[in-house]
Symmetry: C2
Subunit: 379 residues, 2 copies
């Protein structure tokens, strides 16, 4: 095996593949990056057995100036190899491998020899043979990920809740995540998905890595779903994730259908106030803030109190406040994440009773993006 390639272009592809590679894996060979080169393509593969990423570089792509002298394959220690490539002195480098899987990396006057591993010992990528190729705009899917993964559980005690529940039915995609204290649900229309129906749970971690790989230049994702794998294809990247197996809890019944009090805020203004209040709540024993809504006096107050440390009180600016008076206490970290997911919009809070979950929706659209937070009992 022997090829020469442009260093900077190669580094980008290598960085992408490294997202899947963990140095902590129990399977030694998965700390490596697999490099496979034919006369037509160079393929880089990384995997932590949950996520696998495969990146292709085509020999005729002028960005890479790939010149293949001899096809072949090798697995090299990923972190070490990537550090070497990043520090090489010239614009290009040559990688040659002998039949004892020793790699020689040459660039200018610098020559590294690195011990590699037989690529035949590298696990095969999952096979995803599905006839259905769903297509979705990359920026929309990235938004859906970022708006729902905030609510996945980080606790392994209920593994299903560490995933995002995706259902595709009647040309609609529903994405829901909940850690049982809060919930985030997003819906969109899915064009061209007639007669397609899926019900799967994708690990939140996989989706976070995927969303980081989706750049502004990514147009579209092509999605294929098999028994226990999902495959995303975009640009020259194949991103595989295993699926979580089991029945996701029924979340539809959790979302309240009516409310007693509604209040509308600018999401960013409320976010800043929550951040100020949580400075205090984080110092104290209970990480709780209180929102008091008085509809008669038309005053909204945010407060937090930790006797050892001090307290904070702030009168909030709001757009509209209707219904019953209410005082509600909640974890400000949940509220912060929910408001961040809303971005620069206006938000409507709909509340029923002090201990019943309340919802946050964009004021102009209460259907397609709903978040729910369960209050904390403080008395």
């Amino acid at each position: 095996m022997k090829f020469t390639i442009k260093r900077n272009a190669f580094i980008k592809k290598m960085n992408d593949v490294q997202r899947a590679i963990s140095s902590k894996t129990a399977i030694e060979i998965l700390t490596g990056i697999k490099i496979n080169v034919t006369n037509e393509t160079l393929t880089l593969t990384g995997s932590d057995s949950d996520i696998s990423i495969e990146n292709e570089i085509k020999a005729d792509d002028s960005d890479y100036e790939l010149s293949v002298e001899e096809p072949g394959a090798i697995v090299l220690p990923a972190r070490f190899f990537s550090e070497i490539i990043k520090k090489l002195p010239e614009d290009t480098f040559t990688l040659a491998v002998n039949d004892r899987f020793q790699a020689t990396i040459t660039s200018g006057q610098t020559e590294y020899q690195v011990n590699g591993v037989n690529p035949e010992n590298y696990p095969h990528l999952p096979e995803v043979d599905s006839n259905e190729h769903l297509r979705i705009a990359a920026d929309i899917f990235k938004q859906i990920i970022n708006q729902t993964v905030i609510a996945v559980s980080t606790q392994e005690s209920r593994p299903l809740l560490t995933g995002v529940h995706l259902t595709i039915k009647d040309q609609e995609l529903h994405a829901v995540a909940t850690d049982s204290h809060r919930l985030s649900q997003r819906k969109i229309k899915l064009d061209g998905a007639e007669n397609v129906s899926y019900d799967i749970i994708v690990p939140g971690k996989s989706l976070i890595e995927l969303s980081r790989m989706i750049s502004d230049s990514t147009d579209q994702l092509e999605i294929q779903i098999a028994e226990n794998q999902i495959l995303f294809n975009f640009n020259d990247t194949a991103f595989y994730s295993r699926l979580l197996e089991g029945m996701y809890p029924d979340t539809d019944r959790l979302i309240p259908q009516s409310s007693e009090t509604t209040v509308e805020f600018n999401a960013v203004t409320l976010l800043r106030a929550i951040e100020r209040a949580s400075l205090l709540s984080h110092e104290g024993r209970n990480n709780v803030v209180k929102l008091s809504l008085n509809t008669e006096t038309q005053i909204a107050t945010l407060s937090s109190n930790s006797p050892e440390v001090g307290n904070i009180e702030e009168e909030l600016q709001f757009d509209k406040l209707d219904g019953n008076n209410i005082e509600i206490s909640f974890n400000p970290d949940y509220m912060r994440a929910a408001l961040q997911a809303l971005g620069q919009s206006e938000v409507r809070l709909a509340l029923t009773l002090p201990l019943r979950p309340f919802t946050l929706t964009p004021t102009e659209d209460s259907e397609d993006f709903i978040q729910l937070i369960t209050p904390v009992r403080t008395f």
Copy 2:
């Protein structure tokens, strides 16, 4: 106590003082920041008992718009207080303290109450009553610090070596640091220091913090030295550090007076090669690289070998190579720090024997800045 002040200007002064405050101190009150306000000045104090920093804001300085309603003092939890100030909504804030040492911080609609501590329990700053006020250009002193602290020891087993040895005599300042594997020595003329003589050891950590506080706008440092304290005055800052007590080893005799081989490099070119070689040496068991100088063939080679991982070999570009052939092995991390301290200049290495220390000096000046590295035995 009650005052109002501009938030952003205050934050800068507060950040400076926080350099001295550690959250890990055993003395509870030192996790706090002391705020003292009179009709003329506001003073902020932080200390970890090794370093103390006092920053003054004058009431007539228009940058701060300081308005004092009632003089007084308080000690507030430093990290928490600083986070609050940074998140407040308006351009100014008001701090009021009642007689139970409860502080009320107000900005716009936001009101924090924070429990403080009686300032009378805060330790007194050391008294440095010296008649000698040495003056030195701030940028020069910062350079001296950065060029010598790289060689201080990080091991507490020989506490004196964690400091930089400063001697002032005959209108010259000598700064030396060594961790017994390497040494860095810098000399400068000190104008206006007739009949002044000092021999002190300043903790490396103090000097690093001091150098971070010296900005491009700092003109001059005024230095006062007492029994066991050194005080640096600049802008409106007083920076105190304790001194290390004891006799610093005699380092003059360590520096070789002659050499058998000399070689001149561009410091940056050599630095990049050392970084490439250390990628490999860091992976192996012994962190060692080898420099081979052949004066007959006029070839300089840098190499490193770790049987488990691989090896690297690189032919180096140099400016001039004279004397005996030599092969020398050393810790590349020491070499890297030494070359970084030299910056964009040319460097001369002067070597005698494979196991004898060698020196690095700027090619154009071998007197005022000398670094020394002890080789490693590899056979």
